[in-house]
């Protein structure tokens, strides 16, 4: 479903993503992890056709990212970390606009929007009257998730999707993506909340400084590295050693 082959992105002298290669079959949820600045968001932006790779290629649902970008974009849904929306539109205007960009007829779009409203427990009046700029962070995130799934994509990329969602919505969302995967959708899930990744994902890919570090099922990787938890494995691999001791030392500097 997704296949990366030597995918590389350089910004001037700086290599953000360095010859990344892995593949994801249909129906799998992959946790895409890495410390800040590891190249996760850049990789996701390349895979969604937002920025051009410097070298290498990728195929999504059989469409080449470089030569068939529009087909790739039709096949994918993306929830960006920024959660950006056009704030001066109402939620309904925004979703109608997104539906139109995918060629979804208005009646069908409304039907889908109502299904999402029911799932996220949002009122139609709020969606049609309130401008997105006045939404809470969580409500805005729900609209962004709805916009990503509105066209029923085969592959969905989530970049910190739980950011801003309340506990109930987060539980519902985790069940949603597990069900979507069972229905055959491919999910790439990038997050810093590692215990959620450990519970939800079939597999994790960890990168650092643009390079692939490990790729495998969470339990297998934890066992291989004898780390106990995914969190400890992550800090082992990405150089986050002695974090607890450093935190304690720093906290002591606040003594009156």
């Amino acid at each position: 479903m997704i296949a990366l082959d030597g995918l590389t992105k350089r910004f001037g002298q700086q290599t953000a993503v360095d010859a990344l290669s892995f593949s994801v079959p249909a129906g799998q949820i992959v946790g895409f992890l890495g410390p800040n600045g590891a190249g996760k968001t850049t990789t996701l932006k390349m895979l969604t056709g937002m920025i051009e790779p410097t070298a290498g290629t990728a195929t999504i649902c059989g469409h080449d990212l470089r030569t068939d970008t529009l087909a790739v974009k039709r096949a994918v849904g993306f929830v960006p970390e920024s959660g950006a929306v056009f704030e001066s539109l109402t939620g309904l205007e925004y979703l109608d606009m997104v539906a139109a960009l995918y060629g979804i007829p208005r009646a069908a779009a409304r039907q889908r929007i109502e299904q999402f409203l029911a799932f996220f427990d949002l009122g139609f009046d709020t969606l049609s009257e309130k401008l997105l700029g006045a939404y809470s962070k969580g409500m805005r995130r729900k609209v962004v998730i709805t916009a990503a799934l509105l066209h029923n994509p085969s592959v969905v990329f989530f970049d910190e999707p739980l950011d801003g969602l309340d506990a109930n919505a987060a539980v519902g969302f985790k069940t949603l993506i597990q069900t979507l995967a069972r229905e055959g959708k491919t999910i790439v899930y990038s997050s810093h909340i590692l215990d959620v990744v450990e519970r939800v994902c079939h597999r994790v890919v960890i990168i650092d400084r643009g390079k692939l570090l490990v790729d495998g099922a969470p339990d297998d990787l934890v066992a291989q590295h004898n780390s106990g938890t995914l969190e400890r494995l992550f800090t082992q691999l990405t150089g986050g050693t002695e974090l607890e001791r450093r935190a304690e030392d720093f906290a002591k500097t606040f003594r009156p």
Binding site: M50, A100, A108, N152
Partner: protein
């Protein structure tokens, strides 16, 4: 939840057009602003409608100056109308294009959708041209009527002038788009922001110069139109004259002058449109991708090191003794130098005020050099650049970050405002004063330099005006509130003030009392400045919305 139907199977209604959706989107964003704190849909369109109606009414009223051209031939009337339309459209397109064409946030929302960069570009250009035509239509409404009544006018003037306005709007829009696309093609990510800002300022100044110079070639120093036979050949270098030539050609028939000018209008519009919408359009996709890319800077900005050295030495070290003012100075200076959003708002916004003093210093048709009145007017206009810079600097996309000012143990905005004021003075106002002094000295009018002083003395007061009532705290107001009618009122008041000061200074100079006048002005300005400063110092934070 029931399973979602597949997108291709929902053929119960015709699929919508993505192009149409994009046009509607960009028009809505343009009218409402790209971000909004408005609570409901009902509130947003009302404010938009009233704002738009006010703007169009203002344009209509300004356009009524065309009544002064009754009994003038079609070419003279059209030259004036196109000159002013060129300034208005050029400034509007230059000021809007940066935000409309290259919006940082838009990448995360639209670039992963199945739309091509060309579709995005077309939708945006169409919105820019549409709004330009509304503005141009409002401004030219009176001109249409006056053209009908011109000595050599006829009903043909109506379609001719409508066509030339359409072409002028296309010319302005495509020229601005070409400038941006050339920036995208020939510079890298690191230089892009700076270069685009410079391009926008240059285009705005170009629009002001292109529009304002033409009237100086068609009026004599007493404000009367010169005879058609006395027209300078320089008019062939000014785009508004090309479109006036087209009006003349279509309304009154062929003449070598109107034929050549009309040909230049058609050729230049065609060339720019081809370059903007076809030849360079593919670079647009690369451009918005580039804007979407995030890249960290490897080394520290050398401009910052220069600034660090500057504030540690007198006189800035003396003036920024208050640590809050010093921090605010650095913040404002950093945003004026680095932040794309602030730069694209501040510099094109004040570009007309940067250009006007230079235009005043350019000798009018039939003169060797600028008159004393115009030199004094240049000085009086100097204050507008810093005043509007301070005013515009309050708007930012990161306005929520300004909560840090209120969270800090500071009783009011005075010290924060002082830092912003100092930054604008040292980085913008002072260099501008030096340039104007240099221009006056180099054009052989060094003896008239004192005539600049009445305007220069007003600078501290102009800088304080935006802060009256505890307003204009730097970077604290959402960017979408920047297009307020309030700034227009400030501008009219400042222009009146400039004219009064200039008239007094010129009269005093004529009577030999310029220096006594300067003494009185110094006293008045100092009193006003310290009164405003003490009021601001006692001012608590305004209630946050």
């Amino acid at each position: 939840m029931s399973s979602l139907p597949d997108a291709t199977s929902t053929a119960d209604h015709a699929p919508p057009s993505p192009q149409r959706a994009l046009r509607r989107l960009f028009l809505a964003l343009f009218l409402r602003g790209s971000s909004s704190r408005g609570l409901t849909l009902k509130r947003a369109p009302q404010s938009v409608a009233s704002k738009l109606a006010l703007t169009l009414t203002l344009y209509l009223l300004v356009g009524a100056v065309a009544f002064g051209f009754q009994r003038q031939p079609v070419f003279m009337l059209s030259a004036y109308l196109h000159a002013m339309t060129f300034v208005l459209l050029g400034m509007f397109v230059a000021a809007s294009a940066g935000e409309v064409l290259f919006n940082n946030q838009e990448a995360d929302i639209l670039l992963h959708r199945p739309v091509t960069p060309q579709m995005l570009l077309w939708a945006k250009i169409r919105v820019l041209v549409e709004v330009s035509l509304w503005l141009a239509g409002a401004f030219n409404l009176v001109g249409f009527y006056v053209g009908l009544k011109a000595p050599n006018g006829s009903l043909l003037f109506l379609p001719a002038h409508a066509l030339s306005i359409l072409l002028e709007a296309l010319f302005c829009t495509s020229a601005v788009v070409v400038v941006y696309q050339l920036c995208l093609r020939y510079c890298g990510r690191e230089k892009l922001d700076g270069l685009m800002t410079t391009a926008q300022i240059v285009v705005t100044i170009g629009a002001v110069l292109g529009g304002q110079f033409l009237p100086r070639f068609i009026f004599d120093p007493r404000g009367n139109p010169v005879g058609e036979d006395s027209l300078s050949r320089w008019i062939f270098a000014l785009p508004p004259a090309w479109f006036a030539g087209l009006d003349d050609l279509l309304t009154t028939g062929f003449s070598p002058r109107s034929g050549l000018l009309a040909a230049m209008a058609l050729a230049s519009t065609g060339l720019f449109a081809y370059l903007a919408f076809d030849r360079l359009a593919r670079d647009y996709g690369r451009g918005i991708q580039t804007i979407a890319e995030t890249v960290s800077r490897g080394r520290r900005d050398p401009g910052r090191r220069w600034l660090d050295r500057l504030i540690d030495r007198p006189p800035l070290a003396w003036m920024l003794r208050n640590p809050v003012t010093r921090a605010s100075f650095l913040l404002a200076a950093a945003y004026l130098a680095r932040d794309r959003d602030v730069k694209l708002r501040v510099y094109p916004g004040v570009a007309p005020f940067l250009a006007m003093p230079l235009i005043f210093l350019f000798p009018q048709q039939g003169q060797d050099h600028a008159s004393g009145f115009l030199i004094s007017l240049s000085g009086a206009y100097l204050g507008m650049t810093p005043m509007f810079s301070v005013s515009i600097l309050q708007f930012s996309q990161q306005w929520q970050a300004a909560d840090v000012f209120r969270a800090a143990p500071i009783s009011g905005p005075a010290a924060i405002c002082a830092g912003a004021r100092q930054a604008v003075f040292w980085l913008l106002a002072l260099p501008l004063v030096l340039v104007i002094v240099l221009v006056v000295a180099l054009t052989g009018k060094a003896a008239d330099l004192p005539l600049l002083l009445p305007g220069i003395l007003l600078l501290p007061v102009y800088l304080m005006v935006p802060h009256l009532g505890g307003r204009a705290v730097p970077l604290s107001v959402p960017g979408d509130q920047a297009n307020s009618a309030g700034r227009g009122l400030h501008m009219i008041a400042a222009m009146l003030c400039a004219i009064i000061v200039t008239s007094l200074a010129t009269a005093a100079d004529y009577a030999g009392y310029l220096w006594p006048l300067l003494g009185v002005e110094l006293l008045v300005v100092a009193t006003a400045y310290f009164w405003m400063r003490s009021r601001l110092a006692a001012m608590p934070w305004r209630k946050s919305e």
